[in-house]
Symmetry: C2
Subunit: 457 residues, 2 copies
């Protein structure tokens, strides 16, 4: 959940990004002295000599061998598309798409979305290798364990400072998972984690832009490449995670080392993973859930005179937008969420389409939602009463929303969620086969059969 | 120059990297409960549905188009080698090799090595496009300006915290340079800088491993890909550099914004670039330089009874190793450096080979070096006296070493340095042609001619 403990934030910085962008795009060619231009040639010459000189160093050989694994031929599936791309690009793109709707999984202790970086790297690599489903699942459990444990080490200070923790721990999870899938030994795995430790990806400032889902994608790619480099003998600090100038101490002032090691191999962080039932910030979920329950109890939108909503103050602070203009704004509107719950019985990406947000019945219903702050109500809860035209009052109190650890989505819920996203892309029949392949993955002889089902026929 | 102002460093952290590596490499397959294994399948299923669902989102389309630029055919030169690879991999590898010998350039105000990330990305992209030399040089000046200016904004706090500033600003320089080379407008360039801002690469803990030179390589690749993504319409925060949760404020408590904007387009940071004459830490350079000068004055190693060396305390603190066992240790020995200067008149990578460090005359001579701390001597200076067998004393005082801004290497010095590295790889004739091509680059119609010369015949 969002806090704002960052000290001394400077909200009055000049628009440096814009200033530099204009400069780079518009400064005239050779718009400097002969001395500067000559220095540029000296810089280039010196750089090239250094590069040529080290061309046969073992670091060059290892890196070339690693990128050589990225075959010229298309290697790996982009889920939902016909194109195949090299495995590094597949890891990147599947990481982006899986987080694009903000609808993926959440390790609630750290608000890491662990599958994006880890599974994206693993499916690409497993497809290339023709790995078994068991190998992939093993690597997924262990990779997510590493990412979330390191998240536990640094959360919340790291997140509060401004890092998007999914991409800044995800590269460790992807590296660990890929190392496992490649069968690297402990020494090589240590190097893979070390190489990955230098590549934390993601700033919270990017929220609301495509670069947010880029973070898990880039973390997937970074972790995958780190494991490939380690396999080729590339070296890193053996203490890259914990040293004074290593990962944790550089990106956080909180370093609870015991979180990395306590109950290792007995407590698995994937047990604390949760799945979003609604395609919006988790703070609205109890309110939407309550409205879905009202609908299930027979309350219809056209009967409703007023919806009385009591919530924790944080809900209105973060999602209090009364008149959202489009789908993106809709994600920051508890009013829209309630209307979607009551009218559609769900709030998937479809219910955040621009035309739905602006549909007359949705607009009318959300205006009937009267939200008040009641800090006696936990931020995980919501209290909703529908006041009907005939004077009846229907009341629902949600202590923990669907999708929470206390009320996890059932397997059937997850299947419905999957179909809602996949049917329009792959068709219902292929989607059903893909769902079945996912459930049977642990026993699958070769991951490539599942990967093939994830592409349109 | 190294300081150690990091507060509250924890030097007693457990070996987390090792513990996690052993766990990942050795934990038994399916070594967890059925519930955990089922959660893994749920996690995978949920991830895949999200990825399929967003397969046709505009972010997916932009990212696919960007990786599509990485053609299946070999595209770009790996300097000094016959292999050609895709441009992202070429940026990575040339970035690695150019920093492998620690012999590249230094922006002394920030100790950024700017060419590694920027030139490596630019040569690959220019080669693919068939850009002119002028376009490349323009992009180099502007890209280095952006990287070093952002370095000035956050240095030294950022470096002291433990970041390897070359890779944590280099991705911005590479993005800026590539944006320029691609002809992106200011809006697109702003997005390129924004995407790059999420990818600072490099921890100082990695010094002494291959992951140190990996940092400029990965920064080159990250900046290049950021520009390609921006070209395809990928979005990022327009205030990614300066916002409270943007780059500078997340990675540093020092944010001297004026350094980004003062005299923009009039003062060019490449003017403050310097080139290493010796393949070791800059703190030893005055001492080596003094010994090279002794040799030029006719002092021969077999005449020497003693070398009296007076230096700043930092020199012995950082490079006081008396009996280095191999080339890498030799880089931390001012004694070896002095011996190399007097015997060879240089200290290139060749003089840091293991067999040179252990050669009898080198061992004998370095044992004759008597180093004393004299804090009246600046860390940029060295005072050396050779006491000869016949009783003569030959004295040299170096105020600023060769390669400093006060005593820059001449163009001829740079050519000699280049040849020393390139002759064994490309041969003397091709090396000479390549040097000429570098000097003439600003007027070259097509960069590909130079790139071809950088590959063995």
């Amino acid at each position: 959940m969002a806090r704002n403990t960052q000290v001394q934030a400077d909200h009055n910085a000049p628009p440096v990004t814009r200033i530099l962008a204009e400069y780079v795009a518009t400064h005239s060619s050779r718009g400097w002295s002969d001395a500067v231009d000559h220095e540029a040639h000296r810089t280039f010459l010196n750089w090239l000599g250094c590069a040529v000189g080290a061309a046969h160093h073992e670091a060059a050989a290892a890196a070339l061998a690693a990128v050589g694994v990225l075959q010229p031929a298309p290697q790996a599936t982009v889920a939902g598309r016909r194109e195949k791309v090299d495995i590094a690009s597949a890891a990147l793109i599947n990481g982006i798409t899986s987080h694009t709707f903000d609808f993926d999984d959440t390790h609630l202790k750290t608000i890491i979305h662990p599958a994006g970086p880890v599974a994206s790297a693993l499916l690409a690599l497993a497809e290339l290798k023709g790995a078994s489903g068991r190998e992939l699942i093993d690597a997924l459990v262990l990779g997510i364990d590493v990412a979330c444990r390191m998240g536990n080490v640094v959360y919340p200070e790291h997140y509060d400072r401004g890092w998007h923790i999914t991409g800044t721990t995800g590269m460790l999870g992807a590296a660990a998972g890929c190392a496992r899938l490649l069968g690297l030994n402990a020494d090589q795995t240590q190097m893979a984690l070390g190489i990955a430790a230098s590549q934390p990806i993601g700033l919270r400032e990017q929220f609301g832009t495509m670069t947010k889902p880029f973070h898990p994608g880039a973390a997937a790619r970074a972790g995958l490449m780190s494991a490939l480099l380690a396999q080729q003998g590339f070296t890193a600090s053996p203490r890259a995670l914990e040293a004074p100038r290593g990962f944790a101490q550089v990106v956080s002032t909180k370093t609870a080392w015991n979180e990395a090691t306590d109950e290792l191999g007995r407590r698995f962080e994937i047990s604390f993973n949760s799945y979003k039932p609604f395609a919006c910030g988790i703070v609205i979920h109890p309110s939407i859930d309550a409205c879905v329950q009202l609908r299930a109890q027979g309350v219809a939108a056209d009967q409703v005179e007023r919806i009385e909503l009591k919530v924790h103050s944080l809900v209105l602070e973060l999602t209090g937008k009364k008149e959202p203009a489009d789908g993106l704004q809709g994600k920051f509107s508890v009013y829209h969420g309630c209307a979607a719950g009551l009218i559609f019985g769900k709030a998937t990406e479809d219910e955040y389409a621009d035309d739905i947000v602006n549909r007359a019945d949705m607009v009318a219903l959300r205006r009937k939602v009267v939200a008040t702050v009641d800090d006696g109500i936990d931020e995980a809860s919501a209290d909703v009463t529908a006041v009907l035209a005939d004077g009846r009052r229907v009341h629902v109190f949600v202590e923990h929303a669907i999708g929470s650890l206390q009320r996890p989505m059932s397997d059937a819920d997850l299947e419905r969620k999957f179909s809602g996203m996949s049917d329009p892309v792959l068709g219902a029949q292929r989607t059903a086969a893909l769902i079945a392949a996912c459930w049977e993955l642990g026993g699958a002889a070769d991951v490539r059969a599942l990967a093939a089902l994830a592409r349109p026929a």
